[in-house]
Symmetry: C2
Subunit: 344 residues, 2 copies
């Protein structure tokens, strides 16, 4: 028994060392545009924040030989980021053999994102993938740098499994995971709440995809939403790439795979069911509050309240300032309220 | 052994019979306003659609003696209803000893809601609780009829446990469930993304709630959000009621319980953490599509596509009409598209 344990320990050490080495190299790597927009300086510096290959979910059967699903989520800081990732985590935590890749829009590794990944118990990869400088000013195209960085990590670290792009505000029925896990090349399925048709879907005839029903053709060969397809990682050729062209990310990516119409595998009962929705969360206008926290530091009685205010600011739900912003009040009872500073 | 089994069967039969009988009475019952808006005809006809007391989640320990949490969700039909309830189900499915009460705004029992409840594996109660006629024209106050009907069911059927009002678009951290389960009378905690302060919370001093931080005082004794408190069902007096007054539902309900400020139990590390968020999903404008499905009925080749269109309509994501609405197209390839009817 002792020698088996010895082997196990050596093996574990070897894995840990190789992760550390690859993290080091990757963190210093620069991803260069593969050329679909020549002349534009797309150099960005990505960082691999953390990789956890262990499934730490106690209720989940881990000895299964199911194919791994790599669920790629681009994200960016905003008041809704923590709740979005929290409820998406609750969905993914039900799925066996799922590795969650979150690629964040920020130059630094976000503790907030790390915490959510760690608490999920899922195997994960946390990437910091800031937008190239030239796109800094506009929000479009959103999520491309993140997906490109995730694809690079997959190409360098993963031999097989299934890739799925799932935004942090999408809703996915658990059944979809069972279905996409069987993807041989590229599978497709309907997505609800897209464009002006209510749904975007391939049209299936005799079990084959023959056309698409999507309210924005956009001169696309594959007019589908990012959440409307999954890809077997063995089919991810070195040529696979995603352009910085809003509205054409999905199509150009699928074209770059060399996908042919008759290779598409229709899922969700031959594209007759909706198992994923393009839900969008209403933007919460991040408020600026005028609160002098230093005044509170001298009075530890309200320490919990001050901690909450700091947490609110840390989670990106409000700006706090001692000089600018909305004047804030606390309410003692229905007839009596006073400025927050007046609490002291 | 045989006689023990015999007893078990008799006991199970007795329980099933009493459920059927109470369902029958309840379905024919009318709830009359308890009088906080005298003179307004608040009579509504509620229906108890289904009750399932069995926990059918295979991964969940069911022999625990934890207190039951009754999670009350008002809902109403809209394009986002199915995804909202689906992802909320994914959160609740992680919580041991939780009974989900969904009260729908419709006069009929919705199959769509039933399906989601059944698939969750949770114990549940499905109520149809239409708004009183006088509020039909306005959307405000939303969810009151539903919460009142749920309270009536709880009062008639449940002796102990904890009540929590959770809307279908809220986000709840799993830790909150562990905390509210210990509620003795009424517990309170911060809610993120509320009003213009980013958060709404009780202010705690020396472990006691002494004031509230909420951007809309509204002359309320307890200026808190619906998701900001939980109630021990033993504390739900017969006087407990919720008014049809927008913005005052929470406060009047808590006042009707006879709650005193020093009885409030602060949770979430003395109200210093955010464990629930008032996320709102952006409204998807339900489209009207001009599609003549009858034409397709004659041509079974596109049966799967027709099924999807019917499903889209059934789930409330689009109106379909053979005479009115947006003209729809299908895309054969990037250069060729034709009207949906032209498929044939």
């Amino acid at each position: 028994m002792k020698s088996v344990n010895g082997y196990k320990k050596t093996f574990a050490m070897a894995i840990i060392l190789s992760i550390i080495v690859s993290v080091f190299f990757w963190a210093n790597m620069e991803i260069v545009s593969s050329g679909e927009s020549p002349g534009i300086p797309l150099k960005v510096k990505n960082k691999l924040c953390y990789v956890n290959l262990k499934d730490e979910r106690s209720h989940m059967n881990k000895t299964t030989d199911l194919k791994m699903i790599y669920f790629v989520t681009p994200t960016y800081p905003r008041p809704e980021q923590v709740p979005e990732l929290t409820r998406l985590a609750h969905t993914l935590m039900h799925v066996p053999r799922l590795h969650w890749i979150i690629a964040d829009d920020q130059p630094a590794c976000s503790d907030i994102v790390s915490d959510i990944l760690r608490r999920s118990g899922l195997p994960y990869t946390h990437i910091s993938s800031p937008k190239p400088y030239i796109y800094k000013e506009s929000n479009i195209p959103r999520g491309v740098a993140n997906r490109r960085a995730s694809l690079t990590w997959l190409r360098d670290n993963v031999q097989d499994g299934v890739l799925y792009f799932g935004d942090d505000d999408n809703t996915v029925d658990l059944q979809l995971f069972d279905e996409i896990r069987q993807t041989k090349k590229v599978s497709m399925f309907p997505v609800g709440l897209i464009g002006t048709y209510g749904v975007s879907t391939p049209v299936v005839k005799d079990g084959k995809v023959v056309a698409f029903f999507d309210s924005w053709p956009g001169s696309r060969t594959f007019p589908v939403d990012m959440a409307g397809f999954a890809v077997n990682i063995e089919f991810l050729k070195p040529s696979a790439s995603m352009p910085y062209i809003a509205g054409h990310e999905e199509d150009r990516f699928l074209v770059s795979l060399g996908l042919k119409l008759d290779e598409i595998e229709p899922l969700a009962a031959n594209c007759s069911k909706v198992l994923v929705w393009h839900t969008k969360t209403a933007k919460y206008k991040k408020p600026s509050l005028k609160i002098n926290l230093e005044k509170f530091n001298d009075s530890p009685k309200y320490g919990d309240f001050v901690s909450l205010l700091k947490e609110t600011s840390r989670l990106g739900m409000a700006y706090l300032s001692s000089s600018n912003g909305t004047k804030t009040y606390v309410i003692r009872n229905r007839r009596q309220y006073e400025t927050t500073g007046g609490l002291l």
